[in-house]
Amino acid sequence: MSQLLLVAILLALSAIAYQLGRRRALALDNVNGGRTRLHSRPSHYAVLTMLWCLFPPMLVFTVWSVVDTHVITGLLVQDLPAEFQMLPMAHLELVVNDIRNLAQGNIAAHADDPTIQAATGHYQQLLQINRFAKSVVMLLAATAGLAIGWRLISPHLRARVHTERIVNLFLISCAALAILTTIGILLSVLFEAMRFFQTVPVTSFLFGLEWSPQTALRDDQIGSSGAFGAVPLFAGTFLISAIAMMVAVPIGLLSAIYLAEYASRRLRSIAKPLLEILAGIPTVVYGFFAALTLAPLVRQISEAAGIEAASESALAAGLVMGIMIIPFVSSLSDDVITAVPQAMRDGSYAMGATHSETILRVIIPAALPGIVGSILLAVSRAIGETMIVVMAAGLSANLTANPFAAVTTVTVQIVTLLVGDQEFDSPKTLAAFALGLVLFLLTLTLNVIALYVVRKYREQYD
């Protein structure tokens, strides 16, 4: 029985359950000439019956899926000839893998071995039985659930309350899923990072001034010192982010003020989507632009001014990144500025304030929580940005505040550490997880500060 057919039958059953539940509730309502009062509306009983019909097969499916691989493998091994059963565990697993591959039509190592072929036939048979049994049990569960749900319907059944509770539980589990995923990611990064810190001390990672993650494979290799000081990376991240914010905050904020306060409605309706397109351009395209157009330009200009500049510079990457995050600042700020009530503006005008005085002294302070929020969103975007930096700022981990020098960022190093074939026990690879962990803590702190700032201003001004 194919999976699609099974799902279709289950859906049909649940539809039948809905109808049956509804009919029974309506019938109960009509008993005694409508004098018995149902606790809930008939549709609540119907939904409850439907849930009764759907939930048991889902539970069966979940439990079955967790268990069945182990059971089938156990059965398969049990029926293998005795000489296979004597094999050590690791070898036995290889044989089982062979059988599985052969059953799925993949290339297997011992495809011409008759015992293996026989076992494969047996395995396929087991799989088929398993699939069939699963479907049958699920359908039985659905029918049983339907029957129970239908039987339970009575004027005293608080169907509305039950339905609400089930919906509530469903929503809670969805929210929990998102939170659990975050925790899972954090834990997996944390454990790998702890493995890294077993070889490299935390202090030398956090405060070391040199980053050179090439570890030597042999003792006589040169140029592979394996220094894991993260300070140059974070310095590079902050340098580029700072340059980007210096571009994005003034331009974004001022264009938001123009759009919200001065532009005509028609101009605004055209200009705002155009500005938002900036956020939709793939970062790789920005990277081209930074590496091929802006970086040479920066170099020419700085050399004309007598400043020595690398062909890949923090300035080029930062400028382009700033342009990329302008819409984050401008679009959100524009929304919060527009949301400042007209009464506020009227009050200021009535005091004899000009338009710009009103903006500066009343509207901006009123919109400040939202503006701070938009800026912090842009900052976390800048810190996490990778592609532009790879292409325009280079890979060399220089500890410098000179915007004309090549620098690198945390995210870029994580990418270069993990690209290609890697051994997962070398500190070089594990360093990526440590960097990721610190980066995560950094953005987390930033978000906490943002929330605090926003809440503080809100308490004061709303």
Partner: protein, 293 residues
């Protein structure tokens, strides 16, 4: 003033008992809507002559003539949408902030046409302050709310003088005793009535000559309303006040002259006493006796 409101109540009761039928639309349309009563005063602060206001193509005010005298309270009453707020907003050119609004006619403040092209509306609004229907304190501290105008117009550079201005404004607005210890708290933390008095303090902090009030009590409870009405009576000593109100009792309590607007026309203007006890125009009579509104 008590006797007046008692009179008003009696007249309303009589009006209601005599005739409860509404004036129908045709009857209103046929009625002559030329202004009844003397719209001039001996010593005018503001004179408005033949004022028309259009929102796009819709005419909101039709040829209104009206004077505001020195140190008097002029109440403007009338049913919703009659143009009384629109007229009020003409007097300090607040209508300029509405894009599709057009004003014609002459409005003079101390003999000077405020719609003349050489007049700066920013300076005009410093002379003609305004209090709005809904209290709209700025998102700043109580002190900064009142200090906003003086700072804006560079009235003083000395923080001590600024404090004096803030204190005297809050005292005039009868709010000082309630807020003197919490001046650094946000203006929005006050109650509605206190917020409205804060807005009045803000308006008088820059020593305007005229104060316009657009239904200043409509969002307030009776006790706050009583406080603000008392305040308006006190402020009359120093300022000329024009107030738009929906409450006829309020108009009767606080004003010396009353103007009745109807569908963009100024129907009748006269001494408040006369308007409420002996209205000349049938529309005015119908409105104050509660037959429509």
């Amino acid at each position: 003033m008590n006797t007046l409101s008692e009179d008003l109540l009696i007249s309303r009761r009589i009006g209601l008992s005599i005739s409860t039928e509404d004036l129908d639309a045709a009857e209103v349309a046929e009625t002559n809507r030329d202004t009844v009563g003397d719209y001039t005063v001996f010593d005018p602060k503001i004179t408005a002559r033949d004022v028309n206001v259009f929102y796009g193509t819709k005419q909101a005010i039709c040829g209104v003539n009206l004077d505001l005298g020195n140190y008097e309270v002029l109440a403007m009453i009338g049913p919703s949408g009659c143009g009384k707020s629109t007229f009020l907003r003409c007097l300090n050119r607040m209508n300029d902030t509405i894009a599709e609004c057009r004003v014609s006619g002459k409005i003079h403040l101390d003999g000077e046409n405020i719609y003349h092209q050489n007049i700066d509306e920013v300076l005009l609004r410093a002379r003609v302050g305004m209090v709005f229907q809904k209290p709209n304190p700025f998102p700043k501290s109580i002190f900064e709310n009142v200090a906003y105008g003086p700072r804006l117009h560079g009235m003083t550079r000395d923080i001590g003088t600024l404090w004096d201005i803030v204190e005297s404004s809050l005292r005039k607005a009868a709010l000082w005793d309630e807020v003197k210890d919490i001046l650094e708290q946000p203006g929005t933390s006050l109650s509605g009535g206190q917020q409205q008095r804060l807005c009045i303090a803000r308006a008088i902090s820059i020593n305007p000559e005229v104060i316009l009030m657009d239904e200043p009590c409509s969002a307030l409870d009776p006790i706050s309303t009583a406080k603000i009405e008392q305040l308006i009576d006190e402020l009359r000593e120093h300022y000329s006040i024009a107030i738009v109100t929906h409450s006829m009792q309020q108009a009767a309590r606080v004003s010396q002259r009353t103007a009745y607007f109807h569908l963009g026309d100024l129907i009748e203007v006269g001494a408040t006493n006369q308007i409420f006890s002996d209205p000349l125009h049938p529309l005015t009579e119908a409105y104050i006796s509660g037959r429509f509104g």
